[in-house]
């Protein structure tokens, strides 16, 4: 038995070393996921809280208009697009959904109207049909802002009012979801795309067949591949963690050992899919379509690129059972929510079932040539 594990150890060691000598493998295994991390991190990394993109057009020259304009352009909730100068430009951008709404101070804004003693005016909030919720939210934001202006002229007593109170609890940011999804994507890349590219090539060259003439067993080959993929995976995912923490301020509250264990478990399970497809396929033409059928649903439905809570409930219930969903949920729960193994019962259960099913299939369909 000791001899059998010696076989596994040597294969795992030499194949890991081989990976780090292969520039192409390094690119796809390590650099490629990093590129995704920078792209998605760039998109979602800084969006803290809600804000509205608005165009601002001031047609009035009164002091009141200036004061209101100053107030609005410094409002944290509004991002004023400075390129928009005319109503026509604003309309065009709104139609393309590049602006949520346009705020207009009409010509007579701030003038003292006949029959009144104080200056008055109406701020117009223009929005398209699609921007309805943004429009009404903006209207009330501006109304609230105008109260300060109003109090200069009329003293008002407000018997009932609402006040916002920030709870100083950190909630999950979009990036927390994105990062867990990207790790999932990276695990798919290593665990599935790795073997389905490598195995048909090894078969074509007769390398697997040559090993088959020895006493090497399938399980030895699988376990050695598993060990080297787990080692490579920890390096690759570790680099992603470092970048996420240093560049995108990922806040890790979970236990690092648990995170590592979770990643190894995940890689092992997902690698089984790659071993099954790559081990079964005689050539690339068989491997490619099958892997697409398996990978694409997972890629889009398991929370890789957008979080699953955005899906309708029935779809969430179905996608719960995809192999990658518990992987990504688990990564997020451990990393950013600091959950322990006991909280992850459902995820572990689903992954355990998949691992058994996948490896039974992988052993059954494996072909040496």
């Amino acid at each position: 038995m000791k001899k059998k594990w010696y076989t596994v150890a040597v294969f795992a060691r030499l194949n890991t070393r081989r990976f780090f000598r292969d520039r192409l493998a390094l690119f796809f295994g390590i650099l490629f996921p990093l590129i995704f991390l920078f792209v998605f991190g760039g998109i979602f990394g800084h969006s803290s809280g809600t804000s509205f993109k608005v165009g601002f057009i001031n047609e009035s020259t009164t002091a009141e208009a200036k004061s209101v304009a100053n107030e609005l352009t410094h409002n944290k909730l509004l991002k004023v697009d400075k390129d928009v100068k005319t109503a026509a430009e604003a309309k065009e951008k709104m139609l393309r959904s590049q602006l949520d709404a346009t705020i207009v101070l009409p010509k007579d804004f701030g003038e003292v109207k006949p029959g009144t003693k104080t200056p008055s005016g109406t701020v117009q909030v223009q929005y398209t049909q699609n921007g309805e919720s943004a429009g009404s939210a903006l209207t009330s934001i501006i109304n609230a802002g105008l109260q300060k202006e109003n109090s200069k002229y009329v003293s008002t007593f407000v018997p009932f009012q609402a006040q916002g109170d920030e709870q100083h609890n950190k909630s999950l940011t979009q990036f927390d979801y994105t990062f867990a999804g990207l790790l999932g994507f990276s695990i798919i890349g290593m665990g599935i795309f790795g073997p389905i590219n490598v195995f048909p090539e090894l078969k074509k060259q007769g390398i697997l067949r040559r090993f088959h003439t020895t006493t090497l067993r399938v399980w030895q080959y699988f376990i050695s591949t598993m060990i080297s993929q787990a080692a490579i995976g920890l390096v690759s995912l570790g680099i992603m963690f470092i970048v996420a923490i240093t560049v995108f301020h990922l806040h890790v509250v979970g236990n690092w050992l648990l995170i590592a264990l979770w990643l190894v478990f995940s890689i092992t399970m997902i690698l089984g899919i790659g071993l099954a497809i790559g081990g079964w396929a005689k050539n690339e033409r068989q491997a490619a379509p099958l892997s697409n059928i398996v990978v694409f649903p997972m890629m889009f439905l398991s929370g890789t690129f957008f979080p699953r809570f955005l899906m309708p409930e029935w779809l969430q219930a179905v996608t719960n059972w995809l192999p990658l969903s518990p992987v990504i949920d688990g990564i997020r729960l451990i990393t950013t929510e600091g959950k322990g193994l006991l909280d992850l019962g459902p995820q572990i259960g689903i992954m355990a079932i998949w691992t058994v099913v996948i490896y039974i299939i992988a052993f059954r369909v494996f072909r040496w040539e």
């Binding site: 001899k3 059998k4 010696y6 076989t7 150890a9 040597v10 294969f11 030499l14 070393r17 081989r18 000598r21 292969d22 090894l202 060259q205 007769g206 390398i207 067949r209 040559r210 090993f211 088959h212 003439t213 020895t214 006493t215 090497l216």
Partner: protein
Amino acid sequence: MTKKIITVDKLRKKYGDREVVKGISFEVEKGEIFGILGPNGAGKTTTLEMMEAMRPIDGGTAVIDGIDVASNPYEIRRIIGVQPQTPSFQDKTKLVEIIELFSAAYGEKVNPMEFLEDVNLGEKADSFAETLSGGQKQRLSIAAALVHNPKVFFMDEPTTGLDPQARRNLWELVQQVRDKGVTVIMTTHYMDEAELLCDRVAIMDQGQIIAMDSPKNLIKQLLAKGFKKKQHVEQADLEDVFIDLTGKGLRD
């Protein structure tokens, strides 16, 4: 009386409706170099693969060193070494590592340098396998096939595609392997090779063995039938010229 190490009895193989090996029988003695000759499609490779436990046997039996191939494939693999027709190795792997991999496949730990030096690849030990020439690959393949001290060594057309120097070098290697007591079974297209190396040959055609004896005896039998070759008076041929001009030294 020498000991039989391989007994093949009425071995058959069918691919669909086509029977490619039609019940062939032969025996191989311990320590002999046994050649299987025949045109392409004669069933040589299939026969070899059935004996190597690489292809299911459809009928008949093959027994190597007292072990039935069909029922004990793993025990067979432990006592045989296999040289495939076109050896290829995974890239980005050093020669020492390849020897290490193959010995590990049998659960053994060996000194890789010893095996590499046996096939004149000591200097290349730290090169990657993909940088080797055809002849060097064949030699590496032989080294890799012998890491576990097999009793029987199967070679499928080992010299196809090699230059004359590399072929000669390989012949010497095969003889060295035999001298260590390993029984060698080889297929080849080259009659000069078979005549020089093989103690006995079986000639196959269309899935059957049509003649089996030592090369000398086969020639004698042909001559006895009254065969006469066009007489050549030259004492050398073009290959002799080539070797004389370029030397026997290996070129890779």
